[in-house]
Symmetry: C2
Subunit: 240 residues, 2 copies
DNA sequence: CGGGCACTTGATAGTAATCAAGTCCGGTGG
DNA sequence: CCACCGGACTTGATTACTATCAAGTGCCCG
């Protein structure tokens, strides 16, 4: 494959679309056609990609970086609903139906996006029914996570909620470390609080508690070393 | 259409499948083929249709009655995730992927179900890609609701959560009444509590409060007359 | 009409939000 | 490379609220 088929900065001579699971059933020729449809766009940390209440006219696929999807309440409080990273897509719901977005999406760091225009996406969906099945799978995964979140928020102690988030981050962002798993936190304390419906002070206190118990070790503000995973799992299961 | 095409007790000479939105794109002939695949089954109040952690081998469509989908926590607490009524389906997630069920489903009253066997369902899905789109729409609606639930549980006062449920029930089960909207509650106080992560006592207290404020009027244990909808909407928006 | 269960209401205790200082981290500029 | 500055984080004290425990009341079904 010596031919240039995708000229985005981050994937020279590769089909970046191939890395996206929703296109995994397509062959190279089909992927090349899709690659032609893709527009690349970069966002700086803090920039908004999608605005709550406004219409969306493209499917967003993350090539590099990460974003949060959230809603603002009247009194300025924020509820984070999803964290998206490399390979994840969003905006699909506004394209499938013709509705405005339920949430805003903000870049948590420098983020590169592949955009597919609404119309092209709808044609793709018709031409390749397999894509619909892949999207359905991803929607099911999101339902799974939200169901877990509702259960956690509804029936678990506050310490269990904090433990659950740390476990989620360990699985998603954790890297092996001589003494356990090193987690690079994608969110600030306030971000974590807004993800699980608590205040930043409470998150702070509960994390300090977990550190005192020898379960985790905080390394600066953005790094957590998970020392005892099974203890964290036990804590996450604790009902209120 | 004098020919007998569906012999279930509750829909003589009708295509009950036609009433289901996921089959709405099909014509009569196709519906007749589906009607042949359907098995009818009845459940009594309190009976379990699906067991959390066990595999599911059919798609369940409610012909009559209603059910709740819920999870049990270790300490016996319960989190209700969905309420399903006439025309709703469930079990689809275990069929799309090959996984055990995330939740149990229990009949809240005498309930009649149309069952489509896993294999038949998968064939249908391949033959009629439109069905996948319809299912996707429904999955999106469930995501919408769960996102709202997470936001409500994460950022709203307890009174707002109770108000939200009452509004949801008013829209879903409410009937016009000279003095407002009469709501036949699908759940007991404890059920409502398990739906929004509170205790039955708190639900009781907050409903009494709403009654004192003249927003609702309780009529026995299962009926609520909504007197002032806009007041309830204001209460539901109140952040904690 | 009677009995059981769901619901209501009250008192108390526990816990997280809030308000308020401090401290630390990390980035910036000298 | 170090010192400094601002924002994020931690910790403490207090308040507010809901869970819990407990006792009555009333609805609904047989």
């Amino acid at each position: 494959m010596g031919k240039m088929i995708c000229n985005c900065d981050s994937c020279h001579n590769k089909l970046c679309a191939r890395q996206i699971s929703i296109f995994s059933s397509l062959d190279d020729q089909q992927l090349m056609r899709i690659a032609d449809l893709i527009i690349h766009k970069g966002y700086k940390k803090g920039e908004l990609l999608i605005f709550e209440g406004e219409s969306v006219n493209s499917l967003f696929i993350i090539n590099k970086g990460q974003t949060k999807a959230f809603r603002n309440t009247q009194d300025g409080r924020e509820q984070i609903l999803y964290l998206f990273s490399e390979g994840d897509f969003f905006g699909e719901r506004s394209l499938l139906r013709d509705e405005v977005s339920n949430y805003s999406v903000e870049a948590l760091e420098e983020t590169h996006i592949c955009l597919i225009h609404k119309h092209d996406f709808q044609v793709l969906l018709k031409e390749h029914p397999d894509i619909a099945l892949k999207i359905m799978e991803e929607l099911c995964r999101r339902l799974d996570r939200l169901e877990n979140t509702v259960e956690t928020m509804g029936t678990r102690t506050v310490e269990a909620r904090v433990s659950s988030v740390l476990l989620e981050f360990a699985d998603k962002y954790g890297k092996p470390h001589p003494r356990g798993i090193m987690i690079e936190l994608p969110l600030s304390r306030e971000g974590i609080a807004n993800y699980i419906g608590l205040t930043r002070e409470t998150v702070s206190r509960k994390m300090s508690l977990l550190q005192d118990e020898g379960v985790i070790e905080m390394n600066g503000n953005k790094k957590v070393l998970l020392l005892d995973r099974s203890a964290l799992e036990r804590a996450a299961d604790r009902a209120s």
